[in-house]
């Protein structure tokens, strides 16, 4: 199948705060910065780690691990109870920043949003890459210096999310018709949103 590529200008920006809850806790509690942190709704051995920090992820802790298993892997892991008020406040702060650039902001979850720049005057003063860097700077200045995000820019939501996942943490990537084939070449099937191991098996069968 040889479908034509979309040659339109990329005008969708996907912004994703990875390890969001853990990053917010490290912002609020400076003594936790650089340490492995796991946020859980239930501080008990059977509780589930809902957000490990990047330091914890590097030590093998993943989302969904039981607290007891996470501590087995990473004995110095700091387990924190979740603080939804804090996370909602940060979510409101970053959505407020995004709305300065376009009225078409769609929050996808507490730590992800899509900005549609179609027809916005913002594009007259700067490119989307420059706006992406400006958003990153504003998040650090207006929310906290630990706040980092992954930004993906593309012609549709799926590619924008894929672009946001290319260089974690704190990446900014653009997928256009120029590089879409090269990007797909370097990705595994399970790197694509919505495809996990079982779906991969079905597609490969």
């Amino acid at each position: 199948m040889d479908l034509p590529l979309n040659h339109a200008e990329p005008l969708l920006m996907h912004i994703d705060l990875n390890s969001c809850f853990a990053m917010i806790e490290q912002q609020a509690r400076p003594s936790l910065r650089g340490r492995p942190v796991g946020v859980t709704a239930n501080v008990s051995p059977g509780g589930c780690v809902i957000a490990p920090s990047y330091e914890a992820k590097r030590r093998g802790v993943k989302v969904g691990y039981r607290v007891r298993d996470a501590l087995e892997l990473c004995p110095d892991l700091v387990i924190l109870p979740s603080d939804p008020d804090k996370y909602f406040h940060v979510h409101a702060q970053f959505v407020r920043i995004f709305r300065d650039y376009s009225p078409n902001v769609t929050p996808l979850s507490i730590d992800e949003a899509v900005i549609d720049f179609q027809g916005t005057p913002t594009l007259r003063r700067a490119s989307l890459v420059e706006i992406g860097h400006e958003i990153k700077r504003r998040m650090k200045a207006e929310i906290g210096e630990r706040m980092t995000c992954n930004i993906g820019i593309a012609t549709n939501r799926f590619l924008a999310k894929t672009a946001a996942g290319l260089h974690k943490p704190d990446g900014l990537d653009v997928i256009t018709h120029h590089n879409v084939r090269a990007v797909y070449d370097q990705l595994d099937l399970t790197d694509l949103c919505g495809i996990n191991a079982r779906y991969e098996t079905r597609l490969n069968s």
Binding site: I24, Q27, A28, R29, P30, S31, L32, R35, L71, P75, D76, L77, V78, I79, L80, D85, K86, H89, V90, I143, G144
Partner: protein, 86 residues
């Protein structure tokens, strides 16, 4: 390790205009005066009709969670933590 405290404390804070940014600078607790060097995060919390402002601050080694009750203007030290695992 996180230690719950829940005690009313004296706080010296500043409010700068036009941003309206409030920053706690000193805290008096257990007969000690603690100089706060860093405001990590400030966020509001509503509990029923009451509005609180929570300030996560640090003196460089220990983190403090201070809560300002807007109805009474009392500051409460909710917890302290040293960033180490329990």
């Amino acid at each position: 390790m996180i230690q719950a405290v829940g005690e009313k404390v004296s706080v010296i804070a500043s409010c700068s205009q036009p941003s309206g940014r409030v920053v706690p600078h000193r805290l008096r607790w257990c007969g000690r005066t603690i100089t706060l060097t860093k405001l990590g995060l400030h966020h509001p919390v509503r509990e029923g009709r009451r509005l609180y402002h929570v300030f996560s601050v640090s003196d460089g080694t220990t983190d403090y969670r201070l809560k300002l009750e807007t109805e009474t203007l009392h500051w409460v030290l909710e917890e302290i933590s040293d960033g180490l695992a329990a």
